[in-house]
């Protein structure tokens, strides 16, 4: 009998060892040495725990019957001391307990054991009270040790996750390895069950047989207790035969009481007692709610072991995979979420969008959202401030969007929201407006009150597309338009938008070709002194040559396309060169006239503007005072200090600087004082309103006074009627341009006019006031 049991133990032990080796081998194959180390620490710690368990049973026997003798018992105290000390102080232990938390726990175990040592050495057999006290303290030692074991295995899982090697392949391999472990656990458990039965039968026999069986049972129980799996066994009537320590802990019951056999499966949670059934099954995942409220995920399996007499015992094995699953979840979360805000990332968002689109009859609204002034915050206050702002924005969006929407950060300051089942387009628009309004209030962070706004583009499925790509592209087109409009705009995609976008694209291609082929040309619009209507400057305007012009393109569109495509710097360079050459020709022919060039102050242009200007002046041989640069208010907003310095240096060369389209943008009047300017150009919108009421005249009057106070010349743009010219004259405006005074003309025609002007004075016999369908000046 003894032989047979030992044979089975051997088999189980070999299976168990093989399973562990298989796991370690697999890990080595993945070159996950750290994983192996952490797994070793778990194994090392659980062996020490087994030592402690074995000692507890030795202690009991010594206290009760004086077996073994005192010297042997003291030897066992020393054996335990060495086992614990190895955890703490020796290279083997120190390496596996490298983790500070583990080392701390190991030290705690050692400290408590040393404290207990005198009591152990003075313990007399038969002293019940002393024994109970010592036993309780030994149980106290078990606690940190058990935690050490648990944590060591946790570390293994963490290391597995952190090493990034918890790939599906490794996860599968681990499952196989654990499956083997579980299987050998089953065998061991079966042996314990039979040992228990045998011990009972032996009770009716001689005492020595009893003690032999008891010892066998004890060592088997120690083994099974040390397994990091929950093992329960039931007899054919579903009565609980056995529960190991891990299972008892999970079930929240005392292990010893359960072994008595009185307990029934009914006292156990279903996750641990499903073994009362008859059929076997492979690994299943079952939830276990523990009294503390924590939910554990168990991987369970069941085997039916039959006696010779065909009495069936069912052994139930459960692996607690909560932590591992959490690690996997964490990995998935990392893969699918933006680490800063915790929102979904692009991967997860597109996946969710694709899933939503495949549901038949589903309607979704895709909102793309771009922060209006994020870059300024990032640039001026630094990335940490930018990050805090993004976090605040994420919070605001979550509050405004509600629970049903999926919010993602696609990158930078770009967010996307998936609104499920919008009733109609208006519903989607309201949703977007809610988002926009949620960002209207300044964000208060440690960096102060930051104002952000958002532009939002919306595309609806299925109306605007049925695929992820289509919807994203269309929402992007709508977003693009929203950004062109006022801050905080919400734009719904439409086919017109798509057509406009397509046209932009077409234009960009055409522009690039034209620039490469030098197929562009300049027109010049005269700027006149109101006092005597003499031409005092000509504004150079970029035009497609008439023969090549794509239908109906406006100058504004041309510049916008240039800015979009990155062609703006080469285009500016080309314009500067051409304008300076023309200015030089006028100078040579005795018709000297300053030439004004519009500068679109993008970073690409700003970086090279000085050298471009110097080269253009030098190669054309044009004196600097005959060149004027017109910039818009956007320059002031984007980077005031840099722009101020740059324009200041250009003015030192004698170049004049004009602020274009004044009144349309930010109207940061305070800035004007500090901005190096020569001219202020009043936007055509104010001039156009002149004569329609007193307000516009008052505005123009105010601007003129302000400008004069700052020692600036004031230019009125878009003068179309004589009445307007008279009113401008009445408020003391210095200069004017517009169709009334001269449309943009080819270089030849403007050159002739310059000659006439010089010869005959202003406006006499000049070109027709309005020439055909000429494009508006920029």
């Amino acid at each position: 009998m003894e032989r047979r049991r030992l044979g089975l133990v051997l088999l189980a032990a070999l299976c168990f060892a093989a399973a562990l080796l298989a796991q370690v081998g697999l890990l080595r194959e993945h070159r996950a040495f750290d994983l192996e180390e952490t797994l070793r620490s778990g194994w090392f710690a659980s062996r020490t725990e087994a030592h402690l368990l074995r000692f507890a049973s030795t202690l009991e026997r010594f206290a009760a019957r004086g077996e073994p003798d005192r010297e042997s018992f003291h030897e066992q105290v020393d054996v335990l001391l060495l086992a614990v000390r190895r955890l703490v102080r020796e290279p083997d232990g120190a390496r596996v307990m490298a983790e500070p938390v583990l080392a701390e726990l190991a030290l705690e175990v050692e400290r408590r054991l040393f404290d207990l040592e005198p009591a152990l050495l003075f313990l007399e057999p038969g002293d019940e009270a002393a024994y109970l006290a010592v036993r309780d303290r030994l149980d106290e030692i078990r606690r940190p040790l058990a935690e050490l074991v648990a944590r060591a295995y946790d570390r293994f899982l963490e290391a597995a996750a952190a090493s990034g090697r918890l790939t599906s392949t490794l996860a599968r391999d681990l499952w196989i390895g654990l499956g083997l472990t579980g299987a050998s656990g089953l065998l061991l458990a079966g042996l314990v069950v039979s040992a228990v039965g045998e011990a009972r039968r032996a009770r009716s026999r001689a005492d020595r047989a009893t003690s032999a069986a008891r010892e066998a049972e004890e060592s088997l129980r120690t083994l099974v207790d040390a397994l990091p799996v929950a093992v329960t066994a039931f007899d054919e009537r579903g009565r609980l035969l056995f529960v190991n320590r891990h299972a008892a802990e999970l079930a929240g019951i005392g292990g010893d009481a359960a072994v008595a056999g009185a307990a029934s499966a009914g006292g156990l949670p279903a996750a641990l007692s499903a073994g009362a059934g008859r059929d076997e099954h492979g690994f299943r995942e079952v939830d276990l709610d523990r009294p503390g409220g924590r939910r554990h995920l168990l991987a369970t399996t069941r085997r039916v072991l039959r006696d010779d007499g065909s009495l069936a015992r069912t052994v139930h094995i459960a692996l607690d995979v909560t932590e591992r699953r959490a690690a996997e979840e964490q990995l998935r979360h990392l893969a699918e979420h933006d680490p800063l805000t915790g929102l979904a990332n692009r991967t997860r968002f597109t996946r969710a969008l694709a899933a939503a689109l495949t549901r038949p009859g589903s309607r979704v609204a895709l909102h793309l959202l771009d922060l209006d002034r994020f870059k300024e915050v990032n640039d001026s206050l630094g990335h940490p401030a930018g990050d805090r702002l993004l976090l605040a924005v994420a919070g605001r969006l979550a509050g405004a969007a509600g629970k049903s929407a999926l919010i993602a950060r696609l990158g930078g300051d770009e967010f996307a929201l998936l609104q499920p089942d919008p009733a109609n387009a208006e519903d989607a628009r309201r949703f977007a407006t809610r988002l926009s309004e949620s960002l209207a209030q300044p964000v208060v962070t440690s960096d102060g009150r930051l104002r952000v706004g958002a532009s939002i583009g919306i595309a609806l499925a299925p109306d605007h597309g049925r695929t992820v790509e289509e919807l994203l592209r269309h929402a992007d087109i709508a977003l693009y338009r929203a950004k062109e409009e006022a801050r905080g705009s919400v734009v719904l995609f439409s086919n017109e938008l798509a057509a406009a976008r397509a046209r932009r694209h077409q234009l960009a291609t055409a522009l690039e070709t034209a620039l490469r082929q030098e197929a562009l040309e300049l027109r010049f619009q005269p700027v006149l002194r109101i006092e005597d209507l003499r031409v005092v400057a000509c504004e150079a305007l970029l035009r497609w040559p008439a023969c090549r012009e794509p239908t109906g393109i406006s100058a504004g569109e041309l510049v916008a396309v240039a800015e979009e495509t990155g062609l703006v710097a080469p285009l500016t360079e080309w314009v500067l060169n051409a304008a300076c050459r023309r200015g030089r020709l006028w100078l040579e022919s005795g018709r000297a006239c300053p030439v004004a060039v519009n500068i679109s102050m993008t970073p690409a242009v700003a970086d090279r503007l000085e050298s471009m200007v110097d080269n253009a002046l030098a190669s054309a041989g044009l004196p600097a005072h005959l060149l004027e640069l017109e910039v818009t208010e956007g320059v002031l907003i984007r980077n005031f200090d840099q722009a101020t310095a740059l324009l200041g240096r250009l003015r030192k060369r004698g170049i004049k600087v004009a602020l274009d389209d004044f009144g349309t943008g930010y109207s940061a009047l305070a800035y004007l004082q500090r901005f190096p300017l020569d001219k202020l150009k009043i936007d055509r919108r104010f001039v156009g309103e002149l004569g329609n009421g007193p307000t516009s005249l008052a505005i123009v009057d105010a601007v003129v006074r302000l400008g004069h106070a700052l020692d600036l010349e004031i230019v009125a743009e878009g003068v179309e009627r004589d009445e307007q010219l008279q009113l401008l004259r009445s408020v003391g405006c210095d200069l004017a341009q517009g169709f009334l005074l001269g449309v943009p003309e080819t270089a030849d025609r403007i050159s002739r006019r310059l000659g006439e002007t010089h010869a005959h004075g202003p406006l006499r016999n000049s070109a027709p006031l309005v020439v055909g369908p000429a494009p508006a000046p920029a």
Partner: protein, 166 residues
Amino acid sequence: MRSLVALFLALAMAAIPAEGSELPNPTGRPILEITGAIGRTNAPGKALFDLPLLESLGMRELVTITPWTEGEQRFSGIDPRALLATVEARGKELEATALDGYRVVIPVEDLQRFPMLLATRRDGRPMPVRERGPLWLVYPWSSHPETADQPYRGRAIWQLRSIVVR
């Protein structure tokens, strides 16, 4: 894991009747028990040794590092081959068991290949159980570094309690 392997050996173990005894009896508490294929015993089927009896077989010294402790250690004890000769061992393997239940099989060949020591003392003093005593089968780790690796590493059994000769 080592003890699991040892279980295998336990299964294969077979008791062999003891022969007659010419060996002196230990006077103190025995610290080592040898059974199995031996020709000399001092108790039924076994040879029991206390520390003085063991050390009377002739003391030697071995200075070596160990894989578990820092720095060189000065061990003294007896040549295990002398011990086997004393009990007239006839076998190729020694199944050794420690106080903590650890078991390992040591090929007798190891004793021929390496200058090993069955240590009874470190720095001249008997070794307590908590310091791997009273008996530690020491391999010459310094002079034969390969013995610090498996399979030898596991054979350096400490807290040695009994040996079965096969």
